[in-house]
Symmetry: C2
Subunit: 320 residues, 2 copies
Protein backbone atom coordinates (compact mmCIF):
# COMPACT_ATOMS: atom_id res chain seq x y z
CA UNK A 1 0.00 0.00 0.00
CA UNK A 2 2.94 2.27 -0.62
CA UNK A 3 4.20 2.58 2.95
CA UNK A 4 7.37 1.44 4.70
CA UNK A 5 7.24 -0.06 8.19
CA UNK A 6 10.28 -0.86 10.32
CA UNK A 7 9.98 -4.40 11.67
CA UNK A 8 12.35 -4.39 14.63
CA UNK A 9 12.10 -7.63 16.63
CA UNK A 10 15.05 -6.60 18.81
CA UNK A 11 12.94 -3.87 20.30
CA UNK A 12 10.59 -6.48 21.76
CA UNK A 13 13.36 -7.25 24.26
CA UNK A 14 12.65 -3.92 25.88
CA UNK A 15 10.70 -4.53 29.07
CA UNK A 16 8.06 -2.04 27.95
CA UNK A 17 7.68 -3.00 24.30
CA UNK A 18 4.17 -4.12 25.20
CA UNK A 19 2.34 -1.54 27.28
CA UNK A 20 2.22 -3.88 30.28
CA UNK A 21 3.62 -2.78 33.67
CA UNK A 22 4.76 0.81 34.13
CA UNK A 23 8.22 1.17 32.51
CA UNK A 24 11.25 2.00 34.61
CA UNK A 25 10.43 2.36 38.28
CA UNK A 26 12.22 5.55 39.22
CA UNK A 27 13.87 3.78 42.13
CA UNK A 28 15.76 1.56 39.63
CA UNK A 29 19.14 2.33 38.16
CA UNK A 30 19.01 4.95 35.41
CA UNK A 31 21.34 4.20 32.48
CA UNK A 32 21.39 7.90 31.57
CA UNK A 33 22.74 9.14 34.93
CA UNK A 34 26.39 10.13 35.57
CA UNK A 35 28.31 7.14 36.88
CA UNK A 36 26.27 4.67 34.80
CA UNK A 37 27.91 5.52 31.45
CA UNK A 38 28.91 1.87 30.97
CA UNK A 39 25.20 0.92 30.74
CA UNK A 40 24.94 2.66 27.36
CA UNK A 41 26.91 1.90 24.18
CA UNK A 42 29.99 4.19 23.81
CA UNK A 43 29.09 7.82 23.17
CA UNK A 44 29.27 9.39 19.71
CA UNK A 45 29.16 12.96 21.03
CA UNK A 46 29.50 14.61 24.42
CA UNK A 47 29.86 18.03 25.96
CA UNK A 48 32.21 18.55 28.87
CA UNK A 49 32.47 22.26 29.52
CA UNK A 50 35.12 22.12 32.23
CA UNK A 51 36.66 18.73 31.69
CA UNK A 52 35.05 17.46 34.88
CA UNK A 53 31.58 16.13 34.14
CA UNK A 54 29.42 15.96 31.00
CA UNK A 55 26.36 18.13 30.39
CA UNK A 56 25.03 16.21 27.36
CA UNK A 57 25.80 12.86 25.72
CA UNK A 58 24.70 11.19 22.48
CA UNK A 59 24.85 7.37 22.42
CA UNK A 60 23.55 4.70 20.04
CA UNK A 61 20.19 3.27 21.17
CA UNK A 62 20.63 -0.01 23.01
CA UNK A 63 17.49 -1.39 21.31
CA UNK A 64 17.94 0.11 17.84
CA UNK A 65 15.12 0.10 15.30
CA UNK A 66 17.81 0.20 12.59
CA UNK A 67 21.58 -0.48 12.35
CA UNK A 68 24.37 1.00 10.22
CA UNK A 69 26.37 -2.26 10.13
CA UNK A 70 23.97 -3.94 7.69
CA UNK A 71 24.28 -4.11 3.90
CA UNK A 72 21.58 -2.10 2.15
CA UNK A 73 19.78 -4.88 0.27
CA UNK A 74 16.38 -4.37 -1.36
CA UNK A 75 14.36 -7.34 -2.52
CA UNK A 76 10.93 -8.22 -3.84
CA UNK A 77 8.93 -10.87 -1.95
CA UNK A 78 6.11 -11.71 -4.32
CA UNK A 79 3.87 -8.64 -4.27
CA UNK A 80 5.82 -7.02 -1.47
CA UNK A 81 9.07 -5.07 -1.13
CA UNK A 82 11.64 -5.63 1.59
CA UNK A 83 14.76 -3.75 2.59
CA UNK A 84 17.40 -4.53 5.23
CA UNK A 85 16.98 -2.31 8.29
CA UNK A 86 19.92 -0.03 7.53
CA UNK A 87 19.97 3.19 9.50
CA UNK A 88 20.96 4.75 12.78
CA UNK A 89 19.11 5.13 16.04
CA UNK A 90 20.71 7.39 18.64
CA UNK A 91 19.71 8.82 22.00
CA UNK A 92 20.50 12.38 23.08
CA UNK A 93 20.81 12.49 26.89
CA UNK A 94 19.83 16.12 27.37
CA UNK A 95 21.22 16.70 30.85
CA UNK A 96 23.16 14.94 33.59
CA UNK A 97 20.39 15.86 36.06
CA UNK A 98 18.03 12.89 36.44
CA UNK A 99 15.09 15.00 37.61
CA UNK A 100 15.27 18.06 35.32
CA UNK A 101 12.89 18.25 32.36
CA UNK A 102 13.79 19.99 29.11
CA UNK A 103 11.48 22.86 30.20
CA UNK A 104 13.44 23.31 33.41
CA UNK A 105 16.93 23.36 31.92
CA UNK A 106 18.78 26.68 31.48
CA UNK A 107 18.27 28.34 28.07
CA UNK A 108 21.81 27.50 26.90
CA UNK A 109 21.13 23.81 27.53
CA UNK A 110 18.01 23.82 25.30
CA UNK A 111 20.18 25.35 22.59
CA UNK A 112 22.81 22.72 23.23
CA UNK A 113 20.25 19.95 22.59
CA UNK A 114 19.23 21.39 19.21
CA UNK A 115 22.89 21.86 18.29
CA UNK A 116 23.54 18.21 19.17
CA UNK A 117 20.71 17.16 16.81
CA UNK A 118 22.32 19.29 14.10
CA UNK A 119 25.87 17.98 14.68
CA UNK A 120 24.70 14.37 14.58
CA UNK A 121 22.66 15.12 11.44
CA UNK A 122 25.79 16.46 9.71
CA UNK A 123 27.71 13.34 10.69
CA UNK A 124 24.95 10.89 9.69
CA UNK A 125 24.55 12.70 6.34
CA UNK A 126 28.03 11.41 5.42
CA UNK A 127 26.54 7.91 4.99
CA UNK A 128 24.97 8.25 1.54
CA UNK A 129 22.72 5.22 2.11
CA UNK A 130 20.77 7.34 4.61
CA UNK A 131 18.11 9.55 3.04
CA UNK A 132 16.43 11.34 5.93
CA UNK A 133 16.72 11.95 9.66
CA UNK A 134 13.84 12.10 12.13
CA UNK A 135 14.58 13.91 15.41
CA UNK A 136 11.98 13.53 18.14
CA UNK A 137 11.37 13.54 21.84
CA UNK A 138 8.81 11.54 23.84
CA UNK A 139 8.27 13.10 27.27
CA UNK A 140 6.21 11.14 29.81
CA UNK A 141 4.89 7.58 29.68
CA UNK A 142 1.67 8.62 27.90
CA UNK A 143 3.86 10.01 25.08
CA UNK A 144 5.78 6.75 24.76
CA UNK A 145 8.84 7.52 26.90
CA UNK A 146 10.28 4.41 28.56
CA UNK A 147 12.86 6.27 30.66
CA UNK A 148 12.11 9.44 32.60
CA UNK A 149 15.63 10.99 32.42
CA UNK A 150 15.33 13.78 29.80
CA UNK A 151 16.33 12.52 26.36
CA UNK A 152 15.49 12.80 22.68
CA UNK A 153 16.09 10.41 19.80
CA UNK A 154 17.48 10.54 16.27
CA UNK A 155 16.54 7.98 13.62
CA UNK A 156 18.25 8.13 10.23
CA UNK A 157 16.36 6.22 7.52
CA UNK A 158 17.34 4.70 4.16
CA UNK A 159 14.17 6.22 2.62
CA UNK A 160 12.09 9.39 2.88
CA UNK A 161 9.04 8.42 4.96
CA UNK A 162 5.50 9.01 3.70
CA UNK A 163 4.60 11.74 6.18
CA UNK A 164 7.63 13.80 5.17
CA UNK A 165 7.03 13.19 1.45
CA UNK A 166 3.37 14.30 1.75
CA UNK A 167 4.31 17.59 3.39
CA UNK A 168 7.08 18.27 0.87
CA UNK A 169 4.68 17.60 -2.00
CA UNK A 170 2.09 20.03 -0.61
CA UNK A 171 4.78 22.70 -0.14
CA UNK A 172 6.12 22.16 -3.68
CA UNK A 173 2.61 22.44 -5.13
CA UNK A 174 2.02 25.74 -3.34
CA UNK A 175 5.37 27.06 -4.57
CA UNK A 176 4.67 26.04 -8.17
CA UNK A 177 1.44 28.00 -8.09
CA UNK A 178 2.45 31.07 -6.09
CA UNK A 179 6.26 31.13 -6.13
CA UNK A 180 6.15 31.61 -2.37
CA UNK A 181 6.94 29.38 0.62
CA UNK A 182 3.67 28.14 2.14
CA UNK A 183 5.08 28.38 5.68
CA UNK A 184 6.16 32.02 5.12
CA UNK A 185 2.63 32.66 3.77
CA UNK A 186 0.98 31.01 6.77
CA UNK A 187 3.19 32.92 9.20
CA UNK A 188 2.39 36.25 7.52
CA UNK A 189 -1.36 35.56 7.63
CA UNK A 190 -1.28 34.34 11.24
CA UNK A 191 0.79 37.32 12.41
CA UNK A 192 -1.84 39.65 10.90
CA UNK A 193 -4.76 37.74 12.48
CA UNK A 194 -3.00 36.99 15.80
CA UNK A 195 -5.78 34.51 16.70
CA UNK A 196 -3.68 31.37 16.39
CA UNK A 197 -0.33 32.83 17.52
CA UNK A 198 0.64 31.27 20.86
CA UNK A 199 3.91 33.20 21.32
CA UNK A 200 6.42 35.12 19.25
CA UNK A 201 9.92 36.50 19.58
CA UNK A 202 12.18 38.47 17.30
CA UNK A 203 13.46 35.34 15.58
CA UNK A 204 10.65 32.81 15.84
CA UNK A 205 6.87 32.30 15.87
CA UNK A 206 4.73 29.64 17.60
CA UNK A 207 1.29 28.87 16.15
CA UNK A 208 -1.52 26.51 16.99
CA UNK A 209 -2.16 25.76 13.32
CA UNK A 210 -5.42 25.88 11.38
CA UNK A 211 -6.76 22.29 11.30
CA UNK A 212 -4.65 21.31 14.33
CA UNK A 213 -5.01 17.54 14.69
CA UNK A 214 -5.07 17.48 18.49
CA UNK A 215 -5.59 19.92 21.36
CA UNK A 216 -2.71 22.39 21.78
CA UNK A 217 -0.78 21.11 18.76
CA UNK A 218 1.91 23.76 18.14
CA UNK A 219 4.33 24.64 15.37
CA UNK A 220 7.51 26.60 16.12
CA UNK A 221 8.96 28.28 13.03
CA UNK A 222 12.01 30.45 12.38
CA UNK A 223 10.79 33.80 11.06
CA UNK A 224 13.31 33.93 8.26
CA UNK A 225 13.03 31.41 5.44
CA UNK A 226 15.35 28.40 5.73
CA UNK A 227 14.56 25.03 4.13
CA UNK A 228 16.73 22.71 6.18
CA UNK A 229 17.63 22.31 9.83
CA UNK A 230 20.98 20.98 8.54
CA UNK A 231 21.97 24.48 7.37
CA UNK A 232 20.30 26.59 10.09
CA UNK A 233 22.65 29.16 11.64
CA UNK A 234 23.60 29.18 15.32
CA UNK A 235 21.45 32.30 15.70
CA UNK A 236 18.40 30.60 14.16
CA UNK A 237 18.83 27.55 16.40
CA UNK A 238 19.11 29.79 19.43
CA UNK A 239 15.90 31.63 18.50
CA UNK A 240 13.99 28.37 18.12
CA UNK A 241 15.46 26.92 21.34
CA UNK A 242 14.48 30.02 23.31
CA UNK A 243 10.89 29.98 22.02
CA UNK A 244 10.63 26.21 22.53
CA UNK A 245 11.66 26.68 26.14
CA UNK A 246 9.00 29.37 26.65
CA UNK A 247 6.33 27.10 25.17
CA UNK A 248 7.35 24.09 27.23
CA UNK A 249 7.06 26.25 30.34
CA UNK A 250 3.68 27.59 29.20
CA UNK A 251 2.21 24.11 28.62
CA UNK A 252 3.63 22.95 31.97
CA UNK A 253 1.63 25.71 33.65
CA UNK A 254 -1.47 25.68 31.42
CA UNK A 255 -1.87 21.92 31.12
CA UNK A 256 -0.27 20.77 34.38
CA UNK A 257 2.96 19.24 33.08
CA UNK A 258 1.48 17.12 30.29
CA UNK A 259 3.23 14.30 28.47
CA UNK A 260 4.26 15.53 25.02
CA UNK A 261 5.84 14.60 21.70
CA UNK A 262 8.24 17.06 20.10
CA UNK A 263 9.64 16.55 16.63
CA UNK A 264 11.55 18.17 13.81
CA UNK A 265 10.21 18.66 10.28
CA UNK A 266 13.02 19.30 7.82
CA UNK A 267 14.25 18.43 4.30
CA UNK A 268 15.73 14.98 3.61
CA UNK A 269 19.52 14.77 4.06
CA UNK A 270 22.00 16.60 1.84
CA UNK A 271 19.38 18.59 -0.10
CA UNK A 272 20.58 22.01 -1.31
CA UNK A 273 18.67 25.02 0.11
CA UNK A 274 15.34 25.67 -1.63
CA UNK A 275 12.58 28.28 -1.61
CA UNK A 276 9.56 26.03 -1.01
CA UNK A 277 10.19 24.25 2.32
CA UNK A 278 10.70 25.80 5.77
CA UNK A 279 12.00 23.68 8.63
CA UNK A 280 10.19 23.86 11.96
CA UNK A 281 9.44 22.01 15.20
CA UNK A 282 6.09 20.50 16.11
CA UNK A 283 4.99 20.08 19.72
CA UNK A 284 2.03 17.86 20.62
CA UNK A 285 0.91 17.64 24.24
CA UNK A 286 -0.67 14.19 24.73
CA UNK A 287 -4.22 15.02 25.91
CA UNK A 288 -6.32 12.70 23.74
CA UNK A 289 -5.78 9.23 22.30
CA UNK A 290 -5.55 8.21 18.69
CA UNK A 291 -8.44 5.76 18.43
CA UNK A 292 -10.39 3.75 15.88
CA UNK A 293 -11.70 6.71 13.90
CA UNK A 294 -8.22 8.13 13.34
CA UNK A 295 -6.80 4.72 12.38
CA UNK A 296 -9.69 4.04 10.01
CA UNK A 297 -9.81 7.41 8.26
CA UNK A 298 -6.41 9.07 8.65
CA UNK A 299 -8.51 12.06 9.76
CA UNK A 300 -8.61 13.63 13.24
CA UNK A 301 -11.24 14.89 15.66
CA UNK A 302 -9.94 17.74 17.81
CA UNK A 303 -12.14 18.98 20.66
CA UNK A 304 -10.07 22.18 21.19
CA UNK A 305 -10.18 24.88 18.48
CA UNK A 306 -6.63 26.13 17.81
CA UNK A 307 -7.76 29.72 18.50
CA UNK A 308 -8.69 28.71 22.07
CA UNK A 309 -5.42 26.89 22.60
CA UNK A 310 -3.39 29.84 21.29
CA UNK A 311 -5.34 32.36 23.35
CA UNK A 312 -4.96 30.27 26.49
CA UNK A 313 -1.19 29.99 25.98
CA UNK A 314 -0.78 33.69 25.17
CA UNK A 315 -2.38 34.46 28.52
CA UNK A 316 -0.27 31.93 30.43
CA UNK A 317 2.59 33.77 32.08
CA UNK A 318 5.92 32.12 32.65
CA UNK A 319 9.17 33.42 34.06
CA UNK A 320 12.41 33.20 32.09
CA UNK B 1 -1.44 20.65 3.92
CA UNK B 2 -4.24 18.83 2.18
CA UNK B 3 -5.91 17.27 5.20
CA UNK B 4 -9.28 17.74 6.88
CA UNK B 5 -9.58 17.84 10.67
CA UNK B 6 -12.87 17.86 12.57
CA UNK B 7 -12.81 20.64 15.17
CA UNK B 8 -15.51 19.60 17.63
CA UNK B 9 -15.56 21.86 20.70
CA UNK B 10 -18.72 20.14 22.00
CA UNK B 11 -16.73 17.01 22.60
CA UNK B 12 -14.61 18.84 25.17
CA UNK B 13 -17.65 18.67 27.46
CA UNK B 14 -17.06 14.98 27.78
CA UNK B 15 -15.49 14.29 31.16
CA UNK B 16 -12.70 12.32 29.49
CA UNK B 17 -11.96 14.58 26.54
CA UNK B 18 -8.60 15.18 28.19
CA UNK B 19 -6.97 11.99 29.35
CA UNK B 20 -7.24 12.95 33.00
CA UNK B 21 -9.00 10.70 35.54
CA UNK B 22 -10.18 7.24 34.46
CA UNK B 23 -13.43 7.64 32.49
CA UNK B 24 -16.63 6.08 33.76
CA UNK B 25 -16.15 4.33 37.07
CA UNK B 26 -18.02 1.09 36.56
CA UNK B 27 -20.02 1.74 39.70
CA UNK B 28 -21.61 4.77 38.00
CA UNK B 29 -24.79 4.72 35.96
CA UNK B 30 -24.30 3.30 32.47
CA UNK B 31 -26.29 5.16 29.79
CA UNK B 32 -26.16 2.07 27.56
CA UNK B 33 -27.86 -0.31 30.04
CA UNK B 34 -31.53 -1.38 29.84
CA UNK B 35 -33.65 0.96 31.95
CA UNK B 36 -31.44 3.97 31.18
CA UNK B 37 -32.65 4.48 27.59
CA UNK B 38 -33.67 8.06 28.40
CA UNK B 39 -30.00 8.93 28.97
CA UNK B 40 -29.31 8.59 25.24
CA UNK B 41 -30.91 10.51 22.36
CA UNK B 42 -33.87 8.60 20.81
CA UNK B 43 -32.82 5.45 18.96
CA UNK B 44 -32.57 5.30 15.17
CA UNK B 45 -32.55 1.47 15.06
CA UNK B 46 -33.24 -1.31 17.53
CA UNK B 47 -33.70 -5.05 17.64
CA UNK B 48 -36.35 -6.58 19.82
CA UNK B 49 -36.61 -10.25 19.02
CA UNK B 50 -39.54 -11.10 21.27
CA UNK B 51 -41.11 -7.72 21.84
CA UNK B 52 -39.91 -7.77 25.41
CA UNK B 53 -36.42 -6.32 25.65
CA UNK B 54 -33.91 -5.03 23.10
CA UNK B 55 -30.73 -6.88 22.10
CA UNK B 56 -29.10 -4.00 20.16
CA UNK B 57 -29.74 -0.25 19.80
CA UNK B 58 -28.32 2.49 17.58
CA UNK B 59 -28.54 6.05 18.93
CA UNK B 60 -27.04 9.39 17.90
CA UNK B 61 -23.87 10.22 19.87
CA UNK B 62 -24.59 12.58 22.73
CA UNK B 63 -21.30 14.41 22.05
CA UNK B 64 -21.31 14.32 18.25
CA UNK B 65 -18.23 15.22 16.24
CA UNK B 66 -20.59 16.21 13.40
CA UNK B 67 -24.31 17.00 12.96
CA UNK B 68 -26.80 16.52 10.14
CA UNK B 69 -28.85 19.63 11.04
CA UNK B 70 -26.22 22.04 9.71
CA UNK B 71 -26.09 23.60 6.25
CA UNK B 72 -23.16 22.32 4.21
CA UNK B 73 -21.21 25.56 3.72
CA UNK B 74 -17.66 25.61 2.42
CA UNK B 75 -15.58 28.75 2.70
CA UNK B 76 -12.04 29.99 2.20
CA UNK B 77 -10.33 31.68 5.16
CA UNK B 78 -7.27 33.30 3.62
CA UNK B 79 -4.97 30.40 2.77
CA UNK B 80 -7.20 27.86 4.52
CA UNK B 81 -10.43 26.01 3.75
CA UNK B 82 -13.31 25.56 6.15
CA UNK B 83 -16.49 23.51 6.01
CA UNK B 84 -19.43 23.32 8.43
CA UNK B 85 -19.32 20.12 10.47
CA UNK B 86 -22.10 18.35 8.56
CA UNK B 87 -22.31 14.64 9.16
CA UNK B 88 -23.64 12.00 11.49
CA UNK B 89 -22.16 10.38 14.57
CA UNK B 90 -24.00 7.35 15.92
CA UNK B 91 -23.37 4.74 18.60
CA UNK B 92 -24.21 1.05 18.18
CA UNK B 93 -24.94 -0.46 21.60
CA UNK B 94 -23.93 -4.02 20.81
CA UNK B 95 -25.70 -5.84 23.65
CA UNK B 96 -27.99 -5.18 26.60
CA UNK B 97 -25.51 -7.01 28.84
CA UNK B 98 -23.27 -4.46 30.58
CA UNK B 99 -20.44 -6.93 31.22
CA UNK B 100 -20.29 -8.91 27.95
CA UNK B 101 -17.59 -8.03 25.43
CA UNK B 102 -18.06 -8.41 21.68
CA UNK B 103 -15.84 -11.53 21.87
CA UNK B 104 -18.14 -13.11 24.43
CA UNK B 105 -21.45 -12.52 22.62
CA UNK B 106 -23.13 -15.38 20.77
CA UNK B 107 -22.20 -15.67 17.08
CA UNK B 108 -25.60 -14.37 15.91
CA UNK B 109 -25.09 -11.20 17.94
CA UNK B 110 -21.73 -10.44 16.25
CA UNK B 111 -23.53 -10.81 12.93
CA UNK B 112 -26.29 -8.55 14.19
CA UNK B 113 -23.72 -5.80 14.94
CA UNK B 114 -22.28 -5.90 11.41
CA UNK B 115 -25.80 -5.91 9.95
CA UNK B 116 -26.64 -2.84 12.05
CA UNK B 117 -23.58 -1.05 10.60
CA UNK B 118 -24.81 -1.96 7.13
CA UNK B 119 -28.42 -0.90 7.74
CA UNK B 120 -27.34 2.46 9.11
CA UNK B 121 -24.93 2.89 6.19
CA UNK B 122 -27.81 2.37 3.74
CA UNK B 123 -29.91 4.95 5.58
CA UNK B 124 -27.10 7.53 5.89
CA UNK B 125 -26.28 7.09 2.17
CA UNK B 126 -29.65 8.71 1.40
CA UNK B 127 -28.20 12.07 2.48
CA UNK B 128 -26.22 13.01 -0.63
CA UNK B 129 -24.13 15.56 1.29
CA UNK B 130 -22.45 12.61 3.02
CA UNK B 131 -19.57 11.11 1.05
CA UNK B 132 -18.20 8.32 3.26
CA UNK B 133 -18.90 6.37 6.43
CA UNK B 134 -16.32 5.26 8.97
CA UNK B 135 -17.39 2.37 11.23
CA UNK B 136 -15.14 1.64 14.19
CA UNK B 137 -14.98 0.23 17.67
CA UNK B 138 -12.70 1.29 20.55
CA UNK B 139 -12.53 -1.44 23.19
CA UNK B 140 -10.82 -0.62 26.49
CA UNK B 141 -9.58 2.69 27.87
CA UNK B 142 -6.16 2.33 26.21
CA UNK B 143 -7.97 2.13 22.85
CA UNK B 144 -9.92 5.33 23.52
CA UNK B 145 -13.19 3.87 24.86
CA UNK B 146 -14.87 6.18 27.36
CA UNK B 147 -17.64 3.74 28.32
CA UNK B 148 -17.04 0.05 29.01
CA UNK B 149 -20.47 -1.24 27.87
CA UNK B 150 -19.81 -2.87 24.45
CA UNK B 151 -20.43 -0.40 21.63
CA UNK B 152 -19.16 0.69 18.24
CA UNK B 153 -19.47 4.01 16.40
CA UNK B 154 -20.46 5.24 12.95
CA UNK B 155 -19.27 8.57 11.57
CA UNK B 156 -20.57 9.75 8.19
CA UNK B 157 -18.43 12.48 6.63
CA UNK B 158 -19.04 15.17 3.99
CA UNK B 159 -15.69 14.25 2.38
CA UNK B 160 -13.58 11.18 1.67
CA UNK B 161 -10.82 11.22 4.30
CA UNK B 162 -7.14 11.08 3.34
CA UNK B 163 -6.47 7.60 4.71
CA UNK B 164 -9.33 6.12 2.65
CA UNK B 165 -8.28 8.07 -0.47
CA UNK B 166 -4.68 6.85 -0.19
CA UNK B 167 -5.72 3.20 0.00
CA UNK B 168 -8.17 3.57 -2.91
CA UNK B 169 -5.47 5.22 -5.01
CA UNK B 170 -3.00 2.38 -4.34
CA UNK B 171 -5.66 -0.22 -5.22
CA UNK B 172 -6.59 1.64 -8.42
CA UNK B 173 -2.94 1.86 -9.45
CA UNK B 174 -2.48 -1.90 -8.97
CA UNK B 175 -5.62 -2.58 -10.99
CA UNK B 176 -4.54 -0.30 -13.84
CA UNK B 177 -1.30 -2.22 -14.12
CA UNK B 178 -2.46 -5.80 -13.53
CA UNK B 179 -6.23 -5.76 -14.04
CA UNK B 180 -6.56 -7.61 -10.75
CA UNK B 181 -7.74 -6.63 -7.27
CA UNK B 182 -4.70 -6.12 -5.02
CA UNK B 183 -6.51 -7.64 -2.03
CA UNK B 184 -7.43 -10.78 -4.01
CA UNK B 185 -3.76 -10.95 -5.08
CA UNK B 186 -2.49 -10.56 -1.51
CA UNK B 187 -4.92 -13.21 -0.24
CA UNK B 188 -3.86 -15.69 -2.94
CA UNK B 189 -0.17 -15.16 -2.15
CA UNK B 190 -0.71 -15.38 1.61
CA UNK B 191 -2.81 -18.54 1.34
CA UNK B 192 0.02 -20.19 -0.60
CA UNK B 193 2.71 -19.06 1.89
CA UNK B 194 0.55 -19.58 5.03
CA UNK B 195 3.15 -17.68 7.11
CA UNK B 196 1.03 -14.61 7.75
CA UNK B 197 -2.40 -16.30 7.85
CA UNK B 198 -3.79 -16.07 11.40
CA UNK B 199 -7.04 -17.98 10.73
CA UNK B 200 -9.25 -18.93 7.81
CA UNK B 201 -12.73 -20.25 7.17
CA UNK B 202 -14.67 -21.18 4.08
CA UNK B 203 -15.81 -17.63 3.53
CA UNK B 204 -13.10 -15.40 5.04
CA UNK B 205 -9.37 -15.04 5.70
CA UNK B 206 -7.50 -13.28 8.53
CA UNK B 207 -3.94 -12.09 7.88
CA UNK B 208 -1.31 -10.28 9.85
CA UNK B 209 -0.27 -8.22 6.84
CA UNK B 210 3.19 -7.67 5.37
CA UNK B 211 4.47 -4.35 6.80
CA UNK B 212 1.99 -4.54 9.71
CA UNK B 213 2.21 -1.18 11.49
CA UNK B 214 1.82 -2.54 15.01
CA UNK B 215 2.07 -5.89 16.82
CA UNK B 216 -0.77 -8.26 15.94
CA UNK B 217 -2.38 -5.92 13.42
CA UNK B 218 -4.91 -8.08 11.55
CA UNK B 219 -6.97 -7.81 8.38
CA UNK B 220 -10.16 -9.84 7.97
CA UNK B 221 -11.21 -10.20 4.33
CA UNK B 222 -14.11 -11.90 2.57
CA UNK B 223 -12.66 -14.57 0.25
CA UNK B 224 -14.85 -13.57 -2.68
CA UNK B 225 -14.29 -10.18 -4.28
CA UNK B 226 -16.70 -7.44 -3.18
CA UNK B 227 -15.81 -3.74 -3.30
CA UNK B 228 -18.25 -2.30 -0.80
CA UNK B 229 -19.59 -3.28 2.61
CA UNK B 230 -22.80 -1.50 1.53
CA UNK B 231 -23.57 -4.28 -0.98
CA UNK B 232 -22.17 -7.29 0.94
CA UNK B 233 -24.62 -10.20 1.14
CA UNK B 234 -25.98 -11.58 4.40
CA UNK B 235 -23.82 -14.67 3.85
CA UNK B 236 -20.65 -12.57 3.43
CA UNK B 237 -21.41 -10.57 6.56
CA UNK B 238 -21.99 -13.78 8.49
CA UNK B 239 -18.64 -15.22 7.32
CA UNK B 240 -16.78 -12.08 8.41
CA UNK B 241 -18.65 -11.89 11.72
CA UNK B 242 -17.84 -15.54 12.52
CA UNK B 243 -14.13 -15.10 11.77
CA UNK B 244 -14.02 -11.80 13.67
CA UNK B 245 -15.46 -13.56 16.70
CA UNK B 246 -12.81 -16.31 16.47
CA UNK B 247 -10.03 -13.70 16.25
CA UNK B 248 -11.37 -11.65 19.16
CA UNK B 249 -11.38 -14.83 21.25
CA UNK B 250 -7.88 -15.71 20.10
CA UNK B 251 -6.43 -12.30 21.02
CA UNK B 252 -8.24 -12.44 24.37
CA UNK B 253 -6.39 -15.68 25.14
CA UNK B 254 -3.07 -14.89 23.45
CA UNK B 255 -2.72 -11.28 24.61
CA UNK B 256 -4.72 -11.41 27.86
CA UNK B 257 -7.80 -9.43 26.85
CA UNK B 258 -6.05 -6.46 25.25
CA UNK B 259 -7.64 -3.13 24.42
CA UNK B 260 -8.22 -2.95 20.67
CA UNK B 261 -9.44 -0.82 17.79
CA UNK B 262 -11.57 -2.45 15.12
CA UNK B 263 -12.58 -0.66 11.93
CA UNK B 264 -14.10 -1.06 8.51
CA UNK B 265 -12.36 -0.23 5.24
CA UNK B 266 -14.84 0.16 2.41
CA UNK B 267 -15.68 2.31 -0.64
CA UNK B 268 -17.15 5.80 -0.17
CA UNK B 269 -20.96 5.91 -0.11
CA UNK B 270 -23.14 5.08 -3.13
CA UNK B 271 -20.26 3.90 -5.36
CA UNK B 272 -21.22 1.23 -7.89
CA UNK B 273 -19.42 -2.13 -7.47
CA UNK B 274 -15.89 -2.16 -8.93
CA UNK B 275 -13.10 -4.66 -9.55
CA UNK B 276 -10.23 -2.84 -7.82
CA UNK B 277 -11.28 -2.45 -4.17
CA UNK B 278 -12.14 -5.14 -1.63
CA UNK B 279 -13.83 -4.22 1.65
CA UNK B 280 -12.39 -5.68 4.87
CA UNK B 281 -12.09 -5.19 8.61
CA UNK B 282 -8.89 -4.20 10.40
CA UNK B 283 -8.24 -5.18 14.01
CA UNK B 284 -5.44 -3.51 16.01
CA UNK B 285 -4.76 -4.68 19.56
CA UNK B 286 -3.33 -1.72 21.48
CA UNK B 287 0.06 -2.99 22.68
CA UNK B 288 2.35 -0.10 21.79
CA UNK B 289 1.90 3.67 21.70
CA UNK B 290 2.07 5.97 18.72
CA UNK B 291 4.90 8.27 19.73
CA UNK B 292 7.11 11.04 18.37
CA UNK B 293 8.70 9.01 15.60
CA UNK B 294 5.35 7.98 14.15
CA UNK B 295 3.97 11.53 14.37
CA UNK B 296 7.09 12.98 12.77
CA UNK B 297 7.48 10.51 9.93
CA UNK B 298 4.11 8.91 9.25
CA UNK B 299 6.14 5.68 9.40
CA UNK B 300 5.86 2.92 12.02
CA UNK B 301 8.24 0.79 14.08
CA UNK B 302 6.75 -2.63 14.85
CA UNK B 303 8.64 -4.89 17.27
CA UNK B 304 6.59 -8.00 16.33
CA UNK B 305 7.08 -9.51 12.83
CA UNK B 306 3.65 -10.33 11.35
CA UNK B 307 4.79 -13.95 10.77
CA UNK B 308 5.28 -14.37 14.54
CA UNK B 309 1.92 -12.80 15.33
CA UNK B 310 0.12 -15.01 12.80
CA UNK B 311 1.88 -18.16 13.97
CA UNK B 312 1.08 -17.38 17.61
CA UNK B 313 -2.60 -16.84 16.81
CA UNK B 314 -2.83 -19.96 14.62
CA UNK B 315 -1.63 -21.97 17.61
CA UNK B 316 -3.99 -20.29 20.07
CA UNK B 317 -6.98 -22.56 20.57
CA UNK B 318 -10.40 -21.17 21.33
CA UNK B 319 -13.76 -22.82 21.77
CA UNK B 320 -16.75 -21.78 19.68
Amino acid sequence: MGRWVIIAPERAERPSAFLRPPPEADGGICPFCPGNESMTPPEVLSRREDGASWSLRVVPNRYPALRTELQLVREGVGLFDGMAGVGAHEVVIETSDHRATLAELPAEQTGSVLRAWQERMADLARDIRLKSMIAFKNHGAAAGATLSHAHSQLIALPFVPGGVETELRAARRHFEEKERCIFCDVMAQELRDKERVAAETEGAVALSPWAARSPFELWILPRSHCSSFETATAQELRAIADLLRILLRKIDVALEKPAFNLFLHTMPLREPPNEYYHWHLELKPVLTLQAGFEWASGCYINPTPPEEAASFLRQTEVFP
